[in-house]
């Protein structure tokens, strides 16, 4: 089997992070593949929640959007969006939510709205969708984004969803309920926020990624954990499931 690509490292790391998790709020693309991989490996009992209103999805094909009909057939429940955002999310039943964006800052705040000025944008992005609520009420948030100077920025052009705000205990002071971002999964390495400032810090590097490369791709003076490990590489079994069963055409994984 050929060695894992950076994207496969990313998906496998995200899947492993779901060990012991009961419910995960998931988007399409890489997070969806990662959550389904988790269900086949470290988290056989994890249930997938989609903002379209599906709880406990068992997709028979790779969903093309979060509203794909394959998510509905054989799911546990399909509910209206008022119930999804009210009872399931605000009610505190989402253990982990995956979020991503066009920009993230050192405190895990995210921008999915505009690049440039709101009124005269350089690039108009999709906007919040459910991200503003998910970031507020999910018990924990895991961020999944490719690492680059364009995306890991000193200052967001627009704050769409709240992470640790200005750091420290700012999030708790503002009355936000979940503990916020806990993990950042990238194609080069993993980060957490386990320091008093709640500032993103590098914890491990994927095989083949270099520390100087990661430092150069982050738009601020990067904090590093006291010891930076190497991410255990994807196993043969994880790669086989990913390549042969979950994403055979490599739409999301390569």
């Amino acid at each position: 089997m050929t060695p894992a690509t950076p994207t496969e490292h990313m998906i496998v790391s995200a899947a492993r992070s779901l060990a012991g998790v009961q419910t995960v709020f998931v988007g399409v693309g890489m997070p969806n593949v990662a959550c389904n991989l988790a269900r086949m490996t470290v988290a056989p009992d994890v249930e997938l929640i989609y903002e379209s209103g599906v709880y406990g999805a068992r997709p028979a094909r790779l969903p093309l959007s979060i509203g794909d009909p394959t998510l509905i057939s054989n799911s546990i429940a399909v509910v209206g969006m008022a119930d999804l955002f009210g009872l399931y999310l605000q009610g505190g039943h989402v253990d982990v939510a995956f979020l991503g964006g066009a920009q993230v800052d050192r405190f895990g705040n995210l921008n999915t709205t505009v690049i440039g000025d709101y009124k005269q944008p350089k690039v108009r992005l999709p906007g919040s969708g459910g991200a503003a609520e998910i970031a507020t009420s999910a018990n924990r948030v895991f961020i999944m984004m490719r690492l680059s100077k364009r995306t890991f920025v000193e200052r967001l052009d627009f704050v769409t969803s709240s992470g640790h705000l200005t750091g420290g205990n700012a999030r708790a002071r503002a009355g936000l309920r979940g503990v916020g971002p806990q993990l950042v999964v990238t194609d080069l390495g993993l980060f957490d926020f386990s320091n008093p400032d709640h500032e993103m810090q590098l914890t491990s590097l994927h095989v083949g990624a270099r520390l100087d490369e990661v430092r150069a791709a982050v738009g601020w003076q990067l904090k590093e954990a006291s010891s930076v490990h190497q991410t255990p590489p994807p196993t043969e079994d994880e790669l086989r499931l990913l390549r042969e069963e979950l994403d055979p055409t490599g739409l999301y994984s390569r």
Partner: protein, 298 residues
């Protein structure tokens, strides 16, 4: 459809054609374009390819939304052109998150002056939308975001089946269809099938929207194509990918609208033009639910 749109949708109205990825009533949107409505305020959580087409067709002057994308594909090029360059006419936008827009429908549907929501703390959305505000929890819990009621003049929802009175069975992604129907002044239900009232009464838990709030029923098979209707047809994903290509350029967009909207008289002609092979390819194999027994109580 011609009659329902002509009677209920007028220039300057606010119109919500809802349905999250599924049940998006393209048939109604295209009829609004054919009747050359102008200055509409279009409301939808996810504008989708339908509002991209309608805005390219010049029917709208304002858009209220919470996620601006061609789901699973990419950006909505026509809406971006309207916002950024005023093509074919300027478009004002009013932006929420999904939870915020759901809460606005809930406020209107429940007859409440506002709806509280745990969201927006620390974000920039309230800075660009003055209708998102914070109030103090009167019970001492700190501050909480609120949004005002959203009462569309007309709501259009698509469903699997309805009876003559507009009692509507819908299964699959029920989204905000119930809330928007109760929030709107006028409601048009578009269904795949017209059924006897006895079918509705055989499964009353399946009734998402009662005829009580419905003003018109239109029967329009495949009326949600290229989006999907659970159990009836799949999303025509090839269309969504094709739209991404077509909509990049104003001239190919106009040509598409001329051919597929103005070039047909109604939905039936659109379906003939698509061809039965294309439609049949979208039908899923059956996966019926276990029957439920309500019991007979005399």
């Amino acid at each position: 459809m011609t009659e329902a749109i002509s009677e209920f949708v007028h220039d300057g109205d606010s119109v919500a054609i809802e349905g999250f990825t599924a049940f998006i009533c393209f048939a109604a949107g295209h009829e609004i374009m054919r009747q050359r409505r102008r200055d509409l305020t279009l409301i939808r959580m996810t504008p989708d390819a339908l509002y991209d087409q309608m805005i390219a067709g010049g029917v709208a002057s304002k858009l209220v939304f919470s996620y601006l994308g061609n789901p699973g594909v990419g950006p909505l090029h026509c809406i971006r052109r309207a916002v950024e360059q005023g093509i074919p006419r300027p478009l004002e936008i009013e932006e929420y998150s999904h939870g915020g827009l759901v809460a606005r429908y809930q406020a209107a549907a429940n007859g409440l002056p506002f709806f509280p929501i745990r969201s927006y703390v620390g974000t920039d959305l309230p800075k660009v939308n003055p209708d998102i505000r914070f109030i103090k929890d009167p019970y001492g819990g700190g501050s909480i975001a609120v949004v005002p009621p959203l009462r569309p003049k007309v709501a259009i929802i698509h469903a699997q089946r309805a009876d003559h009175d507009g009692n509507t069975h819908l299964w699959g992604l029920i989204g905000v269809q119930k809330e928007v129907a109760f929030a709107a002044d006028k409601v048009i239900v578009v269904a795949e099938e017209l059924v006897e009232s006895s079918v509705i009464r055989s499964d009353p838990n399946r009734t998402l929207v009662p005829g009580l709030v419905v003003d018109a029923v239109v029967i329009e098979p495949f009326g949600a194509h290229p989006s999907y209707v659970q159990g009836f047809y799949d999303r025509d994903n090839a269309f969504y990918l094709e739209w991404d290509r077509v909509s990049r350029d104003p001239s190919t967009t106009t040509a598409w609208i001329e051919e597929w909207v103005f070039g047909v008289k109604n939905r039936s002609q659109y379906l003939v033009k698509l061809g039965t092979a294309a439609l049949d390819a979208l039908r899923p194999s059956p996966l019926p639910a276990a029957p439920v027994d309500y019991g007979e109580y005399r």
